[in-house]
Symmetry: C2
């Protein structure tokens, strides 16, 4: 499940990507144009900045801009920053593995082996899509 927070993050990144040549962009501008609550968006952008996805300029004439090229920003990475692991259950997570309490033998757990496939399919898509590729998806 993609949270609204993560969806907002992706919307903001798309907006920033489209406006990247113009220099910095205000949080308020993104908020208004994309319909995202401003104070909520502040937190999201700050987190993306701390993770190196974005950069910012403070004070008057300040704003946000991309921290790297759109072709270098991986969607899976962004979603993980905001929502945590992509894995549908903790026991199939690479980044935040956690054993199941009840599980006797993980290797033979049928449910785990099935949802490993789901994880792999999800990761395959999201870790192989960059922000610049995402921009192209506005046409079917």
């Amino acid at each position: 499940m993609l949270s609204k927070k993560a969806k907002y993050a992706l919307k903001a990144l798309l907006y920033l990507s489209k406006n990247n040549l113009k220099g910095v962009t205000l949080i308020a501008e993104i908020s208004e144009n994309e319909g995202i609550p401003k104070k909520f968006l502040e937190q999201i952008l700050l987190e993306l900045k701390k993770q190196g996805i974005l950069q910012s300029k403070r004070g008057k004439e300040g704003g946000y801009f991309l921290g790297k090229a759109p072709s270098e920003i991986i969607i899976g990475h962004v979603v993980r920053i905001i929502d945590g692991p992509l894995a549908p259950i903790p026991c199939v997570s690479k980044m935040a593995y956690r054993r199941c309490d009840e599980c006797v033998d993980e290797k033979t757990c049928e449910i785990r082996n099935l949802f490993l496939l789901v994880r792999d399919a999800t990761i395959e898509i999201l870790d192989n899509t960059t922000l610049s590729q995402l921009e192209q998806k506005n046409i079917l």
Copy 2:
């Protein structure tokens, strides 16, 4: 994300499938063997019964048993019964579609078009796996 409830449901179905020839199985037995809280499991099995996945016999000598053959029980169906839609966002859901509040043009929404792929990949796996196939997954 697969909830613990849905994982419990799948564990219970696997257990019932393995014991299907023996006749009925007690909730208490499944609970003890699979480490699932009994009263919680009651609710889960009841829901699966209402949806035709399971059948039960009440009173003394009663218990649960599969409502159809393991090869007829689709894992995607079970997960939907317990957790709701498989779609990662409501706007890509077939069974529980809901438009996004902020979305201007859904067809050109890049995020939607990307997560349609994720949905399709997930559905492809879960709707093409039956309970009998899941049983086979205990070997790698």
